[in-house]
C-alpha cells in the first residue's frame, strides 16, 4: 500500500515537472550537425539568459526532423534539406523558410586520395572519380543512407554523374547512421570517402582522438549547404503548438547580436556556420 502511494507520488511529480506547458517552452526538431558542433546548445544557453522561455530540441537528422513536424510534435524545425523544406511548405505545414546560416559540404577521404579527387573541378567529377576507383577496387564510399540532408545531397551529386549506384556494389556502403557515426566508419577504412557537412567534419577533426580523414574537395556551388528555420502551422497539424514561442526564438536567431555569436563560433580559426538572413515563402 505504501509502495503504491509512493509510486503514485513519484509519477505525479514526474508528470507535473514534465508535462508540456506550452506557454513557456519551445520544442524543435533539428539536424544532427547543429547539435554535434555544439552550436545550438551554445545559442540556447545564451537565449535562456535573456528570455523567460525554454528552448528544447531533439536532434534526429533532417528527414526525421521534418517527419516530426508533419506529425505535429514540434513548434519549428531547423534543418538543411531544401527540397524537403519546399515540400513542407507546399503541403501547407509551414509558410516560410528562414535561411539562417550556411556552410559547405565537403568530400572527405584519405590523405593519400586513391580516387584522385583533389585534381577535379566539380563535385560531380569528384564523385565520378570515386565511382571509377570504387569499381577498380581502389576506393570505397560511405553513404548516410538515412534520408538526411547530407544523404539527399549525395543522391543529387550521383544523379549529376549519370551513373546509377548499385547499392549492393562492394565499394558502396550505406551506414544508415548519423554524420559522426558515418565519418567514424569511413575513418576506419583507409580507402573510404564520404560526403559531410564541414561543421561536423571540423568539430570531429578537433575531437579526441581526432578524425584521420582530410577534406579533399569543397569548391563547387552544388555543395552549398543552407540551414533553415521553419515555423510549423498548428492549423495544418491540428495539434497545439507554441507558435508565439517559435517566433520569439526566430527573432533571437536573426538578431544581429546572435549572428555575431554564430560567426564567432569557431573551431581553431574556422567559422563553422556563416550567418545569412533570407526569407522565402
Amino acid at each position: 500500500m505504501i509502495g503504491i502511494l509512493l509510486i503514485s507520488g513519484i509519477s505525479y511529480g514526474i508528470y507535473i515537472s514534465t508535462t508540456h506547458t506550452s506557454g513557456n517552452e519551445v520544442f524543435l526538431s533539428t539536424t544532427t550537425s547543429v547539435q554535434n558542433t555544439g552550436l545550438l546548445d551554445y545559442l540556447i544557453t545564451h537565449f535562456e539568459q535573456n528570455h523567460n522561455l525554454q528552448v528544447k530540441y531533439t536532434a534526429v537528422g533532417s528527414g526525421a526532423a521534418i517527419q516530426l513536424a508533419r506529425d505535429g510534435e514540434v513548434d519549428a524545425v531547423l534543418v538543411h534539406a531544401p527540397n524537403l523544406e519546399f515540400k513542407l511548405i507546399a503541403d501547407g505545414f509551414s509558410d516560410q523558410r528562414h535561411t539562417l546560416w550556411y556552410n559547405y559540404f565537403v568530400i572527405a577521404g584519405p590523405a593519400s586520395d586513391p580516387a584522385n579527387i583533389t585534381t577535379t573541378t566539380t563535385a560531380s567529377e569528384a564523385f565520378t572519380h570515386i565511382y571509377e576507383a570504387g569499381r577498380a577496387g581502389k576506393a570505397t564510399f560511405y553513404s548516410r543512407g538515412d534520408q538526411s540532408g547530407t544523404n539527399i545531397k549525395e543522391e543529387m551529386i550521383w544523379n549529376q554523374t549519370g551513373y546509377t549506384i548499385n547499392p549492393k556494389a562492394p565499394w558502396y556502403y550505406a551506414t544508415g547512421t548519423g554524420m559522426a557515426a558515418t565519418l567514424f566508419t569511413a575513418d576506419n577504412d583507409p580507402r573510404g570517402y564520404c560526403l559531410t557537412d564541414v561543421g561536423t567534419f571540423t568539430k570531429l577533426k578537433a575531437g579526441s582522438p581526432p578524425l584521420q580523414k582530410e577534406a579533399l574537395f569543397n569548391h563547387d556551388d552544388l555543395l552549398y549547404n543552407p540551414y533553415s528555420y521553419l515555423i510549423i502551422n498548428a492549423s495544418r497539424t491540428h495539434t497545439s503548438l507554441n507558435t508565439a514561442g517559435a517566433i520569439t526564438f526566430l527573432n533571437y536567431l536573426t538578431d544581429p547580436a546572435t549572428t555575431k555569436l554564430v560567426s564567432n563560433y569557431k573551431v581553431g580559426n574556422f567559422t563553422l556556420f556563416n550567418p545569412i538572413n533570407s526569407t522565402e515563402g
Binding site: 555544439g38 528544447k56 506529425d71 510534435e73
Partner: protein
C-alpha cells in the same frame, strides 16, 4: 596513453558537473519507476501463470510468447510506443511523447515480460505439494499467495535485478520516445551517444564508467537482499 589521461580528466570534470548528476538522476528515476510498475503487475501475473502451469501442460505457446517477450527488441518497442503516443496516435491526447513518462512506459513494456517470466518459472519450480500443504493448514487464498511469494523471494529478486539491468542500460527505446532532449529526457546511455557523435570519446567513456558504477551499487543492494533471503 593520452586517451587514458583524457579519460581520467574527463571523469574528474564529469563528476564535478551538476548536469551529469541530473542526467544520472533521471536515468535512475526512469528505470526504477519502470521496474517498480513492472514488478507490481508482473509478480501477481507470474504467480498465477506459475500455479496454473502445474495443472495444465498445454501452455507451451503462451510460455514461448512470454519468453520471446523477455528479449523484446528495444527499438521496436520504442517505435510502437512512439506511434501510440504521437499526437495523432491513439494516446496522443495525453501529450507525453518526449517526456520521462513515455520513457517509463517503454521500459515498463521491456521489463514486464522479464518479471512475469522469471516469476512464473520460479513458482513453477517450487515443490508441487507446497500450495496444497498451505491449503490444508487452513490458509486463505491471500495467505497462500503471500506465502508462495515469500518462499520464492530469492528468484523474484533475481527477476528485479535482471529487469533493472535491462532498463538502466537500455538506449534504443528511450532514444526514440524520449528524444534525448538536454535538461529534459537525456539519460546516461543517450548522453554517451551524444558525446560520441561530438567526437568526445574520453567523456563518453567516463559516462560509461559512471553508468556501470551506479549499476553496480544498485545491483549490490539487490544482491545483498537476495543472498540474505536464502539463509
Amino acid at each position: 596513453m593520452s586517451l587514458f589521461q583524457d579519460f581520467i580528466r574527463s571523469l574528474l570534470i564529469l563528476i564535478s558537473t551538476p548536469e551529469i548528476w541530473n542526467i544520472a538522476g533521471l536515468s535512475l528515476i526512469v528505470s526504477v519507476t519502470a521496474v517498480l510498475f513492472s514488478t507490481l503487475i508482473g509478480i501477481p501475473t507470474g504467480l498465477i501463470m506459475g500455479l496454473r502451469q502445474q495443472h495444465k501442460r498445454s501452455r507451451t505457446l503462451l510460455v514461448a510468447i512470454l519468453n520471446t517477450g523477455m528479449g523484446l527488441p528495444p527499438v521496436l518497442v520504442g517505435l510502437v510506443v512512439y506511434l501510440l503516443l504521437t499526437r495523432q496516435g491513439p494516446l496522443g491526447s495525453f501529450q507525453i511523447l518526449f517526456t520521462p513518462l513515455a520513457m517509463i512506459l517503454a521500459q515498463m513494456i521491456l521489463t514486464l515480460p522479464i518479471i512475469i517470466g522469471i516469476t512464473r518459472s520460479t513458482i513453477q519450480d517450487m515443490p508441487d505439494e507446497l500450495p496444497e500443504m498451505l491449503e490444508s493448514l487452513g490458509g486463505t487464498p491471500d495467505q497462500i499467495y503471500w506465502e508462495l511469494i515469500w518462499e520464492a523471494r530469492s528468484g523474484l529478486i533475481i527477476a528485479i535485478i535482471v529487469a533493472l539491468g535491462r532498463a538502466f542500460s537500455e538506449v534504443g527505446a528511450i532514444l526514440i520516445v524520449g528524444g534525448n532532449i538536454r535538461y529534459s529526457t537525456r539519460v546516461l546511455t543517450t548522453a554517451i551517444i551524444t558525446e560520441i557523435s561530438m567526437g568526445q570519446r574520453p567523456t563518453a567513456l567516463a559516462l560509461g564508467i559512471l553508468l556501470l558504477a551506479i549499476s553496480f551499487v544498485l545491483t549490490s543492494i539487490m544482491t545483498t537482499l537476495q543472498l540474505r533471503s536464502k539463509s
